[in-house]
Amino acid sequence: MAEVRIDSVEKRFGHLQVIHGIDLTIADGEFVVLVGPSGCGKSTLLRMIAGLEEISAGTISIGGRVVNDLEPRERDIAMVFQSYALYPHMNVERNMGFSMALRKQPKAAINEAVGKAAGALELEPYLARLPRELSGGQRQRVAMGRAIVRRPEVFLFDEPLSNLDAQLRVQMRTEVRKLHQRLGATSIYVTHDQVEAMTMADRIVVLEQGRIAQAGSPLELYDRPASRFVAEFIGSPAINILPGAVARGAVSIRLPAGAVEAPLAADLGSAEVDVGIRPEHLRRVRDGGIEGVVQVIEHLGAETYVFLDVGLGRDLCWRMPGRPDVAVGETVSLGFDPGNLNLFVSGSGERLGSPRAAA
């Protein structure tokens, strides 16, 4: 087991810099998810940890050993690829035992390790099959099994679930998490799916254009996003962003129908802001709230998403528990607790300061 330290790591492809000085320490046994939109550099960072990409500047160390100049095979890692990368000409058993066979371990030890992993992943009936004779979910499990048999210091996952259908993905999410709890190995998991990140991570690292936008526990990121980017990236349905201003201890949300004012717990000075309201923090009020016309109602059973036109061009999402008592075309007034607002400075998108923290 090992700690992974990333110190001022940069990556350039020719003149194009894709990673701009990232510092990150991943504790022994921690499950860290790197998340971000495509092109944010998350896969590149993972591949640099794996040794599949050269490091342009900075150092990466695994278990206290600087690995910059080590080959992937010398880093004691295992990686699960998005494509699974199963060896097409080897059966499941040989795929899973390949790393041990390379290290010239005795046949009996290989069989035992493969058997154990196959048992845990319910792959025993398929050991003699070739990868092309397996379903997507089974292939995915073989890829995981191959990583387990390797018994590495660090597990690396590169979007391992994104080729699965939705139902299987949810199931495998739990499997991966269980696997981590059983093995306790340091794990770094790359995904563009923020739901995966929220549900699996001990700690999420949000990357934006090759920089860390925020790192923290899932709830920290959800409740106190450091920037508008993080706020919009984390959470589904996405946070509502409305234009507004802060002055004299109050926030005013500017809507075409008129401003909605709310007091803040602390005086944050005066600034133009983007006001972020999570859909579940809206509630229906008789009047004096944000007024909008119901456009679309999405029923999820346990809860309902209602999309309202408030005259801003993009719809406001209201997430209500249970079944709706509104109809399409109806005008609804929505209120909120100012303590739940996230305020971001217009333009820079930086967090202005949390009303809740101040309260």
């Binding site: 794996a50 080959e71 990686m79 494509s83 990368a85 097409p88 000409h89 390949f98 390379l102 191959r146």
Partner: protein
Amino acid sequence: MLVLRGPSRAFGYGLLALGVFLIIAPFLWVGLQSLKYEIEILKGSWIFPPTAFNYEDVLWSRRSDFPKNVVNSIIVASVSTAMVLVIGTLAAYSLSRMRWSRWISATFLGWTLVFNMIPPLTLVGPWYLLFREVGLTETLTALVLTHIALHLPMTIWMMMAFITDVPRDLEEAAMVDGCRRIDAFRRITLPLVTPGLIAAGVLAFVFSWNEFAVALSLTGRHTATVPVAIARFAQQYEVQYGQMAAASILSTIPALVLMFFGQRFVVQGLTLGAVK
């Protein structure tokens, strides 16, 4: 799938039959000549008593060099094919996988392409002088070297298509699992491009086996290959039509056998990347 019906179907089959006839007819004609005595050939008769005399004469008669020519051809074709496969596969791997700067790979591939477009005959003169300088004229070594040079571009291009088709992830997974790059190449990539090796190998062998222009000028009496030997049946004062035909038929056997077994891979190799 193109489906033809009615008259167009008949027309289609007619065209096909014509094509097959155009390809097969000369071959059959040569086959017929090989079974005739000289006199029947000169008479141009269609009905004749068949004889194996030509084959016996070519293969077993004391004055015939043909068995020796076959051995020469086998040596040249096998050695040059083996070398072409080794060099070509490694070159293709390097060009496909290593991040060469675009200039290097473009220059290299462009050169191979140009080289492939030059008629080999233009190279024969320089090669002859070259090999005479180093004392390699009339040796099989010289011929093997030229055949390697001639067939390397085609092999590189073909193997590149096959190697590029193998996902990079596989090698990376192998390297994470504990392989050095060379092991990943040997244990993962190479087994997966075996069809490509067969296809490229068959083509290189057949081309080398049939190559005439270079072999004619670089070989002597003892190092002549089969195509050269066949041409020598036509001499200044006498053309041995029967023996020539028999030798021609015999010379097609290795190519036919190889094509028969390798056909599937060759077709796949030539169309790889074209249809996906």
